[in-house]
């Protein structure tokens, strides 16, 4: 075992982690731990843009952005947090530009802006140009720019260090975060990092689904670690399905395509979004578009030989717009489906994309222990966190905004906390739990194969807990997930070595996926209403009387089979009263 001591430890090196590191690293002694290399993080897969009311190309203001975010989230958004995000969005974009991000430009040389789903002028009048972008590689440019600036500031990275546990020490004032425990992939060695503050920025858990835009490595590790510590997770039933994944593959095609004028058509060529969202049509928020697409297919109006997808028609945009403003998605369609978007419409279907829920935090990134108390020294930001600025459905581009605004806030808060406090002693044997976990996975105790359990998990989640859900499908999913958890106790891995044991890594990741899938399904069963990304066929309406509240889940007891306790947290309202959501 090796021991390290830092002021701040940041776990995860995607957008949120590196944005936090740039702040923290200039104020306090900071280490960034990532199970990948920083530039492999999935922030780099984001395409379309980052919204901020710069008003560079037309009238706009942050109050409209706040309203759109709250309405887009079906009023489950904490309104104080949404207001902070929309206000600070402007500086977040300007900061990135000053760090070197190569945004596309207007003829006057300012940052150019494009339309995006759910972002409107004057509370829903029409789509507004709010998304700042760099072709369809905005996430790539953000990830590279943040990494470049980490290099500039000499941020210390521990690459391919897989964090598996969080250190919490009991004090007279309650539990305090005191560090993290990591498994070094290169050597199999365990490292204990003592820290005054720890920031989780570990991203999402899209790999609970089969069809997903998420990377193989997005397995919800951070959320899982926090949950296993008895800390709550929030709003996990709200999972976003991005409308335009490449059919059958799930690879993302940006909403920016529709922002540039692309149109969704069903099997008979009809622009069906005119029926579902008469005002902003194809630029309705993602939950609405995804449901509309699923309905077209369910009702027999799909395209293709099996009528199981719809079409994204970009042909009228012309080769120049596609090659200059949407080059990557053009290439994805050509490479993976052998379809040329310049000449023919692209087969698309909703793909599991983003977790609105996660580790509950306040607007400073401080992690909540319950509805009223924080865990001193513990922070979270980005997709793994739930502030909640996305409510029941995130608007496109607001994730890139979230990581920059709240990554920055968490980095500053973590560093300031570290500067104002002394190290608290670690709990006894801080590495014991991780050592036992690794030893257990490597020991011979069964014949179950990790890939089989993962495949079955993803299949049942796709079939039973995706765009549309019912009591029956969710009960099936819950039954399946619990049976898979039982089988997981008997897994075996072939690689018993210490050197880059990715067989072991995948087994551990699957444990997190199973646990988070169960929380998602339990939450979806309990929420007997339809709101944002959570659509219950058996409860098709939003029920503000009973469900205008955040869900909070707590793990009861140890072990994978432990129960989940469900609690609720009120939504914060400031100036917007819930209304019917029409577009």
């Amino acid at each position: 075992m090796q021991f390290h001591k830092y002021d701040v430890v940041i776990i995860g090196a995607g957008g949120a982690g590196m944005r936090a590191a740039i702040e923290s690293g200039q104020r306090a002694r900071t280490a960034v731990l990532t199970k990948l290399y920083p530039t492999r993080s999935h922030t780099g897969a984001a395409q379309g843009g980052m919204c901020a009311a710069l008003a560079n190309v037309e009238e706009d203001n942050w109050e409209w952005h706040t309203f759109d975010t709250i309405k887009g989230g079906d009023y489950l958004v904490d309104q104080d947090a949404a207001e902070i995000m929309a206000k600070e969005a402007i500086d977040a974009v300007l900061d990135l530009e000053k760090m070197g991000l190569p945004f596309n430009r207007t003829p006057e040389g300012k940052i150019d802006q494009r339309r995006f789903g759910g972002h409107t002028r004057n509370h829903g009048e029409a789509a507004v140009r709010r998304a700042c972008y760099a072709a369809d590689r905005t996430g790539h440019m953000i990830l590279q720019t943040l990494y470049q600036n980490c290099v500039k500031h000499g941020i210390e990275f521990f690459n391919e260090f897989y964090v598996l546990d969080l250190c919490m020490t009991e004090t007279a004032d309650g539990p305090v975060c005191t560090g993290a425990v990591a498994y070094e992939l290169a050597t199999g060695e365990i490292h204990v990092f003592q820290a005054k503050s720890v920031v989780f920025a570990t991203g999402g858990f899209g790999k609970v689904f089969k069809t997903t835009s998420n990377a193989h490595t997005l397995t919800g590790d951070g959320m899982g670690i926090v949950f296993r510590k008895g800390l709550p997770l929030e709003d996990m039933e709200f999972y976003q399905f991005h409308p335009t994944g490449l059919a059958g593959l799930g690879i993302l095609l940006t909403e920016g395509a529709r922002g540039e004028g692309a149109i969704l058509r069903n099997g008979s060529g009809e622009r069906f979004m005119e029926r579902y969202a008469p005002t902003i049509k194809d630029l309705a928020p993602r939950d609405i578009v995804a449901r509309s697409m699923a309905l077209e297919v369910l009702e027999g109006r799909g395209a293709g030989p099996n009528k199981d997808y719809v079409l994204l028609d970009c042909t009228h945009l012309g080769a120049e717009v596609l090659e200059t403003k949407l080059p990557d998605i053009t290439e994805f369609a050509r490479t993976y489906l052998a379809v040329d978007p310049v000449k023919e419409p692209v087969p698309v279907y909703p793909t599991a994309h983003y977790a609105m829920g996660g580790i509950p935090t306040n607007v400073h990134g401080e992690v909540l222990r319950d509805n009223d108390n924080i865990v001193p020294g513990l922070y979270a930001a980005g997709e793994c966190a739930c502030v909640s600025v996305h409510g029941a459905n995130r608007l496109g581009t607001n994730s890139l905004l979230d990581i920059n605004v709240f990554g920055r806030r968490a980095g500053i808060a973590a560093a300031e906390y570290a500067l104002a406090h002394d190290h608290v002693e670690l709990p006894e044997n801080p590495a014991a739990q991780v050592e036992a976990q690794v030893a257990l996975v490597l020991s011979e105790h069964g014949e179950e194969r990790v890939a089989d359990i993962r495949t079955e998990l993803q299949a049942t989640m796709d079939a039973n807990a995706s765009v549309y859900r019912t009591e029956d499908t969710l009960k099936t999913a819950l039954h399946d997930v619990q049976a898979l958890k039982e089988r997981y106790q008997r897994i075996t891995v072939q690689d018993k070595g210490k050197r880059f044991n990715t067989d072991l890594l995948e087994a551990v990741e699957l444990g997190f996926l199973l646990e988070l899938a169960e929380v998602l399904v339990v939450g979806a069963l309990a929420r007997k209403e339809s709101r944002g990304g959570h659509a219950r066929e058996d409860y098709p309406n939003r029920d503000d009387t009973n469900f205008m509240r955040h869900s909070m889940y707590y793990k009861q007891g140890d072990g994978l089979a432990a129960d989940i306790r469900l609690d609720y947290k009120p939504v914060t309202f400031t100036r917007y009263q819930p209304m019917e959501r029409k577009y």
């Binding site: 530039t39 530009e97 070197g100 430009r105 040389g109 300012k110 590689r137 290099v151 993976y336 070595g497």
Partner: protein, 260 residues
């Protein structure tokens, strides 16, 4: 020396159902785990796969169903994270961007695909190499915007033409396919390599940047741009379609004529 003994690794348990339209291909992988092996060897695996499968799918098939010890990096699986650069049939490619249909032998003859680690960086295990020297070269060229004086309150202005000037080199995902395809890099590991020069180019030709001279000084070094022998391997290897050799030439020209 490389051991050439063919080892057929047996399966573990039942295999997943073979999809309609699958063809059986042979995947030949260069294996090496210094923890247990004295020298590298080639393992062959018979795999049912669809023409639309990526080489990454075949590697996953091996890892998940045939031999869990096979080790490689991967993440996004669609060509933007840069984790899975490897030598596929002798050329550097991302395993997630090469489709089986483009590798099939003509006229239904049996297909064998060879996969090995990228060259010029120490192999840690199987297809996974030590990336530290690569990232050190990247960091050495000051790959970040350098400016002096007060920052503007709003964004710096940049014309669309000035933005276009360095667009190509902003696409780099640091996968190392270019650098590890370069014969100069294979023999002189101290050469910065194409990827580092691409990332220097991205800033040297950015109208907002004021650090061109510092970077050009670094690249004028004995391990800098003059090592390039213009073989175009890098351009051919780049999965992002960056005109790597052209970027290197532009940096050379900037050095020769002292002008960006």
């Amino acid at each position: 020396m490389t051991a050439t003994a063919e080892v057929s690794t047996g399966s573990r348990g039942n295999q997943p159902p073979v999809p309609d339209g699958a063809i059986t291909v042979t995947l030949k992988v260069r294996r090496f785990n210094p923890e247990f092996d004295d020298e590298p060897r080639w393992d062959s695996f018979e795999i049912p796969a669809l023409p639309s499968d990526r080489v990454l799918n075949l590697l996953h098939y091996v890892k998940w169903y045939l031999d869990g010890t096979l080790t490689f990096r991967r993440s996004c699986a669609h060509g933007i994270c840069g984790s899975d650069a490897m030598r596929i049939n002798g050329v550097n490619r991302l395993a997630c961007k090469v489709l089986l249909k483009d590798l099939l032998a003509p006229k239904g003859k049996p297909t064998t695909i060879t996969v090995e680690a990228i060259k010029g960086l120490p192999v840690h295990k199987d297809l996974l190499v030590d990336m530290e020297p690569f990232f050190e070269a990247f960091k050495a060229v000051k790959p970040y915007l350098i400016t002096y004086g007060n920052e503007p309150t709003r964004e710096r202005l940049q014309s669309a033409a000035d933005r276009e000037r360095f667009d190509d080199t902003t696409k780099c995902i640091l996968c190392a396919a270019c650098t590890t395809s370069c014969p100069v890099f294979w023999t002189e590991g101290s050469y910065f390599g194409p990827a580092a020069i691409v990332n220097a180019h991205r800033f040297i030709f950015d109208s907002r940047d004021e650090g061109a001279e510092e970077r050009l000084d670094i690249l004028n070094d004995v391990d800098g741009v003059w090592r390039c022998r213009t073989t175009f391997n890098c351009t051919d290897a780049c999965p992002r379609g960056i005109q790597v050799t052209k970027a290197i030439q532009e940096v050379k020209r900037a050095l020769l004529f002292k002008r960006v």
